[in-house]
Structure formats: C-alpha cells, structure tokens
C-alpha cells in the first residue's frame, strides 16, 4: 500500500477504488458485468490508439531512414495522418468478389483481429493493467498468436485470386517454420524463470532481467525470438505473403475498404505484440530498472509509472524491428526456410540444453552473484 502512494500515477489506485465503490452498491453479477465492459472498452481503445500511433510512427521513422520527412501536412508534424487514414478506410466501399468462398472470405479478417486481440489481452501493460493472466501465459500467447496466420491463409485461399493463393501458400511455409523458433526461444526463458505465468515471470525479474540472468543463452534466445517474431508478423524482410513487388498485394489483393483495413491494423498490432512479449519475457516487462540495495535510486525509478517503462521498452524493440525492416531486401522462400531449419532451429535446440545446464549448474547471474542481483 505504501508503495502505491509513492506512485501517484499508477492505475492500481484507480482500479481498486472503482472495484470497492461498485461492490458497495451493486450485486456481484452487475459488478462483474460493468467491469468486463470497462475492460473491453479499454482494450478496444488501446488497440485502436496503439495501432494509429504505430502506423504514424512507422511512416515517420521509415521516412527518416530514407532521408525524407514523411507525413507532415495533417496537423502538427503530420500527427493526425493516421486519423485521416482511419476515417478514409472506414468509409471505403467493400467490394463483393464473385466466385470467392464468401464465408471464408468474410471470416478471415475475424481470425486476424480476434487472434491479435486475444494476444493483446494477455499483455501486462503495467501494474494492474493486465486483462488475462493465465498460469500458462507463455503457451497461451504462442498458441493464440499463431491463429493470425490462419487468417492470412484463409484470406489467400478464399479470394480465388492467384496472387492471393501464392501469398497464402507462402504464409503457410512461413507459419510452419517460425512458429517453432518463437516457441523454443520462449521455452528457453521458461526454463530459466520456472514459470509460464507472465505476472510471476515479471516479478522474478525485479533486480535482474531475464536477458541478463541467463546471459549467453538468453541473448541468443532473445535474438532468435526477435527474428522469428518478426517473421511471424509478415513484415520486413519476411513479407513474402504480401511481397508488394512480386504479388502486387499478396494475400489481401482482393480485400478492400475496412476488411483490408483490419489486415493493415493487425499487421501493426502484431508488431506491437511481438515487441511487448519480448519486453515482458526478456526485459522485465513493466518493471523499472532496480538495483538491489540502492533504495533511493529504486524509489526514484519507481516514481516513473510502470506503463511508461513498459511502453518505453517496447518502443525500443519496435524501433529495432523497423530498422531491420527498412534495411534489408526480402528473403526468397527457400532462404526463409533455410534460415529457420538450418540456422535458427538447431541453434535453438542447443540453446535450450545450454540453458538447462546453466540453470542446473547455478551459472545464471542470480545464482552466481546473489548479492547484486
């Protein structure tokens, strides 16, 4: 409780106050219902706002990488650019495609959005800003995020368009590959942390983030996770299903208006999700930088709200992802599979064993230097 007062900007205060007031006047059922609605509304808002910010940020950062300015005519520094885009895309005609598989064509965006939303809900944005906290959190995230690929596959298949079809087939190849690496990389950290629940995992990193705790092994896992996560989002050098210069627009060639908008949205959200899972698992999530024994320093760090820490770390990873994306040419399908099966997967397998050895022989930093970490 004392901690809470020292952090006036945390939302924990707000939620506990809200909960107690509601419980004071309403029955259990209504309290839950209202709280669920609030959770849903907040998620929805966060989802949309984050996507808009990301779209703006990507366009701006891309521009800076490419020696230009990017959007700067709508609002100050072009800040409202993605709002304009949203209005436009919301009011664009949705074209009905002949000879497509109507049901799947319609359902594919649902998969895309729902999958990213479910993963999004499991992300701990800050203290008490955490909707779903399963005890099998890591496994859940791996499972649910892979649903998004089904959206891509279905979209490509149902459009009855050859570009889309090739795009879908490529996304299949990509899916069977990078799903594994991402899972194994997370598993390496599960070995280290000994839990799959995000909240426990974060608490365990209070003085030593996992990426430092497991040093070599963690670093390797971190890089592999970033690569394969990047690949899973169909972005950057891994945008084969979309492949603008080859397949015109890839799997979403036939999607127009908001249906396309959902793909556009989900692409950015997935990028955010990958970055935030990496933050949570490797970089201590929403925890501030803390050093054992430095009470004053820790106190100051605590003053910065937890969600600021979380978004800060995530932003760094997103920047990294953009940097990679705008530096490299696209991989070819066999290069993509080679990278996974000849490099990432074998390294990953060795890495897990290495991590187990580190953990069992007490070579992790927390075991080696318990006084400092």
């Amino acid at each position: 409780m004392i901690l809470n007062y020292s952090q006036p900007l945390e939302v924990t205060n707000l939620t506990s106050w809200l909960d107690s007031t509601l419980r004071g006047s309403l029955s259990e059922f209504w309290v839950l219902l209202i709280e669920f609605v609030i959770v849903g509304a907040l998620l929805l808002a966060a989802y949309a706002v984050i996507a808009l910010i990301l779209i703006y940020a990507e366009r701006k950062i891309t521009a800076f990488f490419q020696a230009r300015f990017g959007p700067n005519r709508v609002g100050k520094w072009g800040l409202l650019q993605s709002v304009a885009d949203m209005i436009k895309i919301l009011l664009k005609e949705i074209v009905k495609i002949n000879r497509s598989d109507r049901f799947l064509f319609f359902a594919a965006p649902f998969f895309m959005i729902v999958a990213s939303m479910l993963t999004f809900g499991a992300i701990p944005f800050g203290k008490a800003l955490h909707a779903i906290d399963f005890n099998i959190g890591v496994l859940y995230v791996t499972a649910v995020s892979s649903l998004g690929i089904i959206g891509v596959l279905l979209a490509g298949w149902s459009s009855n368009n050859k570009y889309s079809m090739i795009g879908a087939m490529r996304s299949g190849a990509q899916f069977v590959s990078y799903e594994l690496s991402a899972g194994f990389a997370l598993m390496t950290i599960v070995v280290l942390a000994g839990t799959m629940q995000f909240s426990t995992m974060i608490e365990g990193q209070r003085y030593c983030w996992n990426i430092f705790n497991g040093h070599i092994s963690s670093m390797i896992a971190f890089v592999i996770y970033l690569i394969s996560g990047h690949a899973e989002t169909n972005r950057g050098p891994f945008d084969l299903p979309e492949a603008e210069s080859e397949l015109t627009a890839g799997y979403h060639t036939e999607y127009s208006g908001l249906q396309f908008g959902f793909y556009y949205l989900a692409e950015y959200l997935n990028m955010f999700i990958i970055a935030s899972i990496a933050t949570t698992v490797f970089l201590g999530g929403y925890l501030p930088i803390q050093v054992k024994g430095w009470v004053d320093f820790n106190g100051i760090m605590d003053y910065i709200p937890s969600y600021v820490w979380f978004f800060g770390k995530t932003a760094v990873l997103i920047f990294l992802s953009l940097w990679v994306r705008w530096s490299f040419p696209r991989l070819r399908i066999d290069q993509l599979l080679n990278l996974e099966w000849k490099y990432l997967l074998p390294i990953n397998l060795v890495n897990i064993v290495l991590m187990v050895i580190l953990v069992l022989t007490g070579l992790t930093l927390t075991d080696l230097l318990p006084g400092i970490f």
């Binding site: 005609e93 009855n160 897990i352």
Partner: protein, 117 residues
C-alpha cells in the same frame, strides 16, 4: 474475475470491433456496381481458369518436420517449467528426447530434405 470470463470478454471485444467496423462501412460507404467489379484482379487481364487448382507447395516435407517438432514442443513446455525442481535427472531424461529429434533433423538435412525443390 475468473480468467475464463476475462478471456471471453477479450474474445467478444475482438468480434465486436470487426462487426461494428464492418457495419459502419457497409452502412455509410458509397457503392457502385458494374460487371467487372467482382472479377479477380490479375493485372487487368481476365484470369485463366480458377485459382483453386492443384498447387504444388514445395514445403510439405518441412510441414512434416514441423509437426514432429511442434509435438515435441508441447511435451517440452511442462518440463521446462519444473526443470529446476527436477534437477539433473530431468535433463538426462529429456536430453534423450531432444537428441533423437536433433538426429532426426540432422538426418533430414543430410538427406537433402531441407532443400527447396
């Protein structure tokens, strides 16, 4: 608040987002009709046949390998959570498992399965 009901909340939120968005779009967006609009886009040329033809996916062997490893991953996750408490015993028992799979991958590699054809 149980996890399951929260899960459902999030799930419904996703559905609502899509449904509401599409609803607004369908209600407000202008529409036009012409004969060519619904045809597949293929660089402006009428497409040849249907695209649902037999399609050679060159990566089916990868898919089989993927199945193998994905099943392994399911076994490994529970093990990974309690590896500390299992101790060296746990490492030995699962090493056997990993090594066999690793050998499988090495064999496939050697056989040239990991070469796109």
């Amino acid at each position: 608040m149980s996890s399951l009901s929260l899960f459902l909340t999030v799930f419904l939120t996703g559905i609502i987002l899509v449904v509401a968005g599409l609803g607004i779009a369908i209600l407000l967006a202008p529409q036009s009709f012409n004969l060519q609009k619904g045809e597949p886009y293929e660089c402006g040329i009428p497409t040849h046949g249907t695209s649902w033809m037999q399609f050679k996916a060159g990566y089916y062997l990868y898919a089989i390998l993927y199945l193998m490893f994905d099943v392994e991953a399911i076994f490994l996750f529970p093990w990974a959570t309690i590896v500390r408490s299992l101790g060296v015993q746990g490492l030995y028992s699962i090493m056997f498992f990993i090594v066999i799979l690793g050998l499988g991958l090495a064999y496939a590699w050697k056989k040239g399965v990991l070469k796109w054809s």
